[in-house]
Amino acid sequence: MQSNRTLEIGTGLFVLLGFAALLFLTTQLPASGLKLGGQKAGYYVTAQFDNIGDLKVGSPVTMSGVRVGEVAGIHFDSRIYKAVVRMRIDPQYNEIPDDSFASIQTEGLLGGKYVGISPGGLDTYLKDGSRIDMTQSAIVLETLINKFFASFASKGTGDTEQSTDKEPRK
């Protein structure tokens, strides 16, 4: 019954692979699914922002444009009404000054958001559990456009346009 065995093993492997693929697609792809995969090395720091835009878990953390880590978690702190971003920094970048400055920036014009860190001047360094105090929120394009139109209108003929520049959102 040699051929029967290969047949059963082949079918079994195929079905197993198919269901594994299905499991991957349903659990790993949607953000709501449960996540597998182990912890990566590095240390964790947090920063509080007024507005994170569409920063997502997995977005890069950069210094001078070089990737030094990634966003590990985002949650809203309802006591201080701010978004708390937890970042994992790669272990080799262990000399980032304590008073560094974290800002949320945009890749390209419409691209995804990332966290940029500009170094401060202190001799003490960020370590696991540290908090970056100085932060700048994401620049939301719509707010910017609204501001621009507001200043444009007040400079120009009058404030009549100010009420009309906001289109109803779909």
Binding site: G18, A21, L22, L25, L29, P30, G58, V71, E107, G111
Partner: protein, 254 residues
């Protein structure tokens, strides 16, 4: 049989549609009893699924890689190459994986089914079964049909997964899109709804392709030319039906 009246083509088409529908219902009725012989079913899942695995995986990898290249080229013009993961995942899950898997399935497994059953018909094996009081519809057709229906969604899932890794391979390794961005953007935009759309499509395509293959084989003219014709018609009819149903299903899901 050449009929000179022009209306007869229409009538012939309607008759064929009716014949396929009646065959489908008869086949469905035989499906549950045929489950009592799981070995036959396993053999057909192996034939239709496991033996199509290599070509599906290869096609998936290259479709994903091409999607990565084309998507990157298109998206970097707008400076938003981090949307590559989203574009590749949605394209694969919703459209490319079910359709290309179904087309390959029709070419690889559908033709094999049609010619196998057609040859059984041509060599009077089906008639012999009937004489021995073995129902050929339940013994030959139903397990092959069910095997195809089971194999198709699994093949589609494998195609999607391999394709996504192909896109990741080109996008992240070759074109240097950030890995974290690639996956987080993908996970941020892919819904369970998108996965289920692909799966529903693949089940429908599986039913359509297997039904056409089994029907054409079962009703093949018992000659060498007849078997060849049945094989050709299987591929043509399956491809057209798959593309047609794809439009209808997409419209229904949007």
């Amino acid at each position: 049989m050449i009929n000179p009246r022009p209306g007869s083509y229409l009538l012939g088409g309607i008759r064929r549609l009716g014949a396929v529908t009646v065959f489908f219902v008869r086949l469905l009725l035989r499906c549950v009893p045929s489950l009592s012989r799981p070995r036959l079913l396993i053999m057909q899942v192996y034939n239709a699924g496991a033996r199509s695995l290599i070509i599906i995986m290869l096609a998936g990898l290259f479709v994903g890689m091409v999607l990565g290249l084309q998507g990157y080229d298109l998206l970097q013009r707008f400076g938003s190459e981090e949307a590559l993961g989203t574009a590749a995942a949605l394209g694969l899950l919703r459209e490319l994986a079910p359709v290309i898997t179904a087309l390959l399935f029709a070419g690889r497994a559908g033709t094999a089914l049609a010619s196998e059953i057609g040859l059984m018909r041509a060599t009077d094996q089906l008639t012999a079964m009937e004489i021995m009081a073995v129902d050929p519809l339940g013994y030959v057709a139903a397990p092959r049909f069910l095997g195809g229906v089971i194999a198709m969604p699994l093949l589609t899932a494998i195609f999607s997964m391999i394709g996504l890794f192909g896109a990741q391979l080109v996008g992240v390794q070759l074109m240097r899109v950030d890995r974290g961005v690639f996956w987080s953007q993908t996970q941020g935009s892919v819904d369970l709804h998108d996965v289920s759309e692909g799966m529903v499509k693949s089940v429908v395509f599986g039913i359509a392709c297997s039904l056409i293959a089994v029907y054409e084989g079962y009703h093949a003219e018992p000659t060498a030319a007849g078997v060849g014709l049945a094989t050709t018609r299987t591929v043509v009819a399956s491809s057209v039906i798959v593309l047609l149903f794809d439009y209808v299903l997409t419209a229904a899901f949007l």
